[in-house]
Symmetry: C2
Subunit: 324 residues, 2 copies
Amino acid sequence: MARKAAQPLVAGIDLGGTNIQAAVVNPDNEIIGRARKKTRAERGAKEVTVRIIDCIKECLASADVNAGDIAALCIGAPGPLRPEEGIVISAPNLGWRNVPLKSLLESAVGIRTLLDNDVNIGTYGEFRLGAGRGVRDLVGIFVGTGIGGGLVIDGKLHRGFNHTAGEIGHLVVRMGGPKCGCGNRGCLEAIAGRAAIARELASRAKKRKTLLTKLAKGPLEEARSRAIADAYNEKDDLVVEVLDEAVAALGAAIGGVVNLLSPEAVILGGGLTEALGKPFVKQVAQAAAKNAFPQCIKNVRFAMAELGDDAGVLGAAQLAREAL
Amino acid sequence: MARKAAQPLVAGIDLGGTNIQAAVVNPDNEIIGRARKKTRAERGAKEVTVRIIDCIKECLASADVNAGDIAALCIGAPGPLRPEEGIVISAPNLGWRNVPLKSLLESAVGIRTLLDNDVNIGTYGEFRLGAGRGVRDLVGIFVGTGIGGGLVIDGKLHRGFNHTAGEIGHLVVRMGGPKCGCGNRGCLEAIAGRAAIARELASRAKKRKTLLTKLAKGPLEEARSRAIADAYNEKDDLVVEVLDEAVAALGAAIGGVVNLLSPEAVILGGGLTEALGKPFVKQVAQAAAKNAFPQCIKNVRFAMAELGDDAGVLGAAQLAREAL
């Protein structure tokens, strides 16, 4: 393949339940312009689409470029979705059904648009520019309110037959265990997602004391990652107990995934991971090793995501560039 | 890619704990010669290697060809192994450690030799010539004494970083559950493998009656798949109960794998699957659907393996051909 002498600009958009982020990225993978807006999902798909368009325009202005200077953009949205047709089939946390996001953006902004899954773009960003640089097989796991995941297999983002691959949060690790938001029981997310952890803490705190009552500044059911991490670092008995259970569940799921996929790297990100930091990544790695064959987990690298909030826009921009 | 006018012959070898099988395969994927020998693993790696070499020679004679007529052969062996170097690192059920099988066969037989995992070659056979023809992403699950698996991703056998991918039997579905042969607890294999099922049946039969006592013709701990299937088909209460639990565990694991990988097809094979037949495949598919997102499992095909004992040699022969 001939390499182009001058690679053009691309843009990446990360559509989340809370925020929309956009970035213009140059051939050196530097962000040369960015914008951010609240999503305001409650106002409906039409209004959110207008906000995405405004965010893109602000981002172009911030980079001091025109739509004509951008060769392609990629937007990551909650799924399931049909990437080829550019349609978000259903996004429960946005209240969306069958939104033709690609064609809406292309006609409004005039830039060739790709659509992908929001966790995929974050995983891809870490793979190409972050903690997963240089590996061919990678599992990205984002532990936040829920647990999302993305897979890079043989150097490519793996989407699979229904374009839904990566749902590591919905591996069953404890049959008959706690009820999950997805309707099933015993999913990883139902034990180790931040919402599940907070719910469990609230339930056990009815009979026990915990520092979190003071730190959470509100109902324990809604305790944020920062407060949970602070109580953990203070060695609060209850929080240590519940987080240890979460780590054990993460270890069971990830150990199994290592046995199944034999990845070279496991990248951990998301709000809870960022709040707890590298000691958490190390604990998860140790727990995974207890659940994987030694020869499967040998030399597998566990690392914390490096790009934070920029993983999504950078990964999306990369995907846009590679589609040129 | 230009297609060759005349494709040469290739050979596939399946090295199992009990039997060695070999086949010469023509360009139409027909087996034109075959041989089979007992493995006799207890006699050690040197003797087993001689038996493999003899089996290959018998197979060539049965096809009425010479080693010079075979462009390449591939042998599937229990792993873990290093395919590029052609070394079996460790095969507990053969008692092997660091056996350079590729070079041993090449120097003795004079045919270019490839080494791969035994479950991989079976999965690949089903993918190319059996129940998985025409799909790009496939999960093969072989429920026998234990539970093995193989993955085809984006049209290629997926081996992963440590060449160990596919160990679906060692996904944890019930943390803290029954002890597994691998040392962990709650692995799929520890609940739904034939050995685990037989052990559970034997344990519960101490207090309950079961037809299996008569059908097994020996200790229940060693009940064979055929006897278990016969008792199941007679609606024996205990056997139905234990097999239903196995199906639930298979559903939890496979549903999770569908969420994770989004395959197009799930192919079920192995001794227990063959004994129980298509109704078992249907039950497993229904159980998986309870554990997967509807949009992830939509249109995913569950099918019974079609090639039986020939899956391994045919898959190995295919891999040999594709390496030419």
